[in-house]
Symmetry: C2
Subunit: 370 residues, 2 copies
């Protein structure tokens, strides 16, 4: 029986692939046309997701020479040492170029496994099975892979497209609520940079999205995948328009770095970053206060933070001064020699890359009261 | 004054680049149109090449924010740890996406630095300045980058094209003679797989090539770069024809692995591998004995080995049995699930990929007397 699902195509010529979205897809893997060319498969997952979904997947891959590898949960898995562990296992399996990796988990597992797939024998296939909202609407699509360097996040990586993305909305039921809300930050971001209509839709459907209504959630995830597929198809390696996806991330990454990745979930930092970038756009006369209010209200409706906190322990709070945040932003990957590159809003649903913002503009903006 | 040089173009659309070949180019870098987009430059070299050419290069890059990094000489530099060292230095320089790496040295430095360039912020520019014959005719062109894994050579890598290749033929004067001869193995290989005329040319010019005659050597290097540029332009990521460049390498890699990379230079193993692959092609009725004799004579004229040695210390010799070599070949990156993929000769100057050779065919062939 064919599996009922929504399919979004990412059009990249010979590297094109499908994103399959449905409820309960993980139990129907063997009914999907899985894109596995050879016989060797290695499923990589983490200590949180593995116990929940690994066995149901392995059961359905019985026809393959399939092994699995469990890495620690959380950001600490995105290290050179775990990258090497995956490659070692592939070597021990004597995996060939037609071997396939499967990343089962959130963005960390997807980024780490994706980078291993990019590098093993200069590139083997990978199927992404994202199990968090954040990775379903963002990280698993588009081929950005990376691990962290002790001196900076996502600084070691590659562009390597998956051969398939399989999104089972049901996995969101086991996701901690805080992580689910954090994922909604990236959902709202698509509206802000690409579609006023999607903002309106989110304003109406936020309660149903928050309560994980199956039809609404599946529809919104599919819409996000279409937004991202559209941008990635036009700009695979972020030479231009793809940078718009980093809206809110320049501020967001600075917040994460300043707090040593210990305080905010990525989506929470992005939520604050999006609100800051929206207010910054208003302060430059690009959008009006009403747009700012709508944006902030939408993030609040998702239970997300919208301002730089002022009540952190002193050791963290002291890192959040305008000066130190502005300094951290100079390390952003989007920057060219000595210049900021900021994503700003021309209007709600229409973003652009601005290279005229100076460090003192940012410090001045961050110093103002909200 | 414009620099006198031969330029070979590698046509890869937006990733196209030029290979500049001349005598004494390193002293005229500042007269070249160097393809450096930003201001940050990191020159990576090794302990052997650095003392010879680093200062002349740094002197000419004074207008940039330029640093240098010296890695150990030899294959041991192609490790994850040195890869990380390069990335750490880039981080410490706060290198942006428009920073440029320069690889100054042989294939090891080129492969290692190229892989770092491929991965830092998902890809920054690299200029290759190869200083060995092997890297001038092969490794520096085409964008294959890699490091070694304890369990296998070149198993961690990426395709990442340089933005420019600068070949100064004069650097060959400081190359140890054994390494120079080893480089000639890859030169002869181009003739065997692509051009009967080039074989004839090499038969005539081998004495002048061996004595480093400037005009002949420059012409032959340029011819090799054209052969490689032609193949790479048609098949950047080795999905088809580029595999022909691995002629002789399946046997060659097995010989290197069996002797733990301690006995043969890469080119020496390739020389033996090319002779074996030529004889293997004859044994399958594809070419005749006269072709085999011409091939072997050409490698001998370059002072290269043409047969699996029989006089090694027992600990090494015992690794060179037909069975163990055939087993090692199953790990070759070109193989698909469970099948050998061998490059064979249809005639001298015309190679093809064959997938019908079995492990027992190889064992049987290797067991025969020469």
């Amino acid at each position: 029986m064919p599996v009922e699902k929504t399919t979004v195509e990412v059009a990249l010529g010979s590297r094109s692939y499908a994103i399959h979205i449905s409820d309960n897809l993980l139990s129907q893997l063997s009914d999907l046309p899985l894109r596995i060319r050879g016989r060797q498969v290695l499923v990589v997952t983490d200590e949180q997701v593995g116990p929940l979904y690994l066995s149901v997947i392995l059961d359905q891959l019985a026809e393959f020479d399939c092994q699995s590898l469990v890495v620690p949960a959380g950001e600490k898995a995105k290290q050179l040492t775990h990258f090497e562990t995956i490659l070692t296992r592939l070597m021990q399996m004597r995996a060939n170029r037609d071997a396939c990796l499967i990343a089962l988990g959130g963005g960390v597992v997807g980024d780490l496994t994706g980078f291993a797939a990019a590098c093993y024998m200069r590139g083997i296939d990978i199927i992404q099975i994202p199990t968090t909202l954040l990775s379903q609407v963002d990280a698993s699509v588009g081929g950005k892979t990376a691990i962290n360097h002790p001196l900076g996040k996502n600084l070691i990586g590659a562009f390597h497209q998956p051969t398939q993305v399989i999104i089972d909305v049901r996995t969101l039921n086991t996701l901690p609520e805080r992580e689910y809300r954090a994922g909604i930050a990236e959902v709202i971001k698509y509206g802000l940079i690409m579609s006023p209509d999607f903002i309106t839709q989110l304003e109406q459907q936020m309660p149903k999205l928050m309560s994980l209504d199956r039809v609404v959630t599946e529809g919104i995830i599919a819409a996000c995948c279409r937004f991202k597929a559209d941008i990635v198809a036009r700009d695979e390696t972020e030479s231009g328009q793809r940078a718009l996806l980093n809206f809110g991330h320049t501020f967001g990454h600075a917040l994460e770095t300043a707090t040593a990745y210990s305080h905010f979930l990525h989506g929470e930092a992005v939520a604050i970053g999006c609100c800051l970038a929206t207010r910054f756009s208003a302060s430059l006369g690009l959008i009006n206060q009403q747009d700012v209010d709508r944006t902030v209200a939408l993030f609040k409706a998702a239970g997300l933070p919208t301002e730089v906190p002022t009540d952190l322990p002193e050791c963290l709070q002291s890192q959040l001064t305008p000066e130190s945040l502005a300094m951290l932003m100079t390390l952003d990957k989007k920057n060219q020699s000595g210049e900021y590159r900021f994503i700003l809003l021309r209007q709600l649903g229409d973003a652009f890359v601005d290279a005229r913002v100076s460090q003192s503009d940012v410090i001045e903006f961050l110093s103002r009261p909200v």
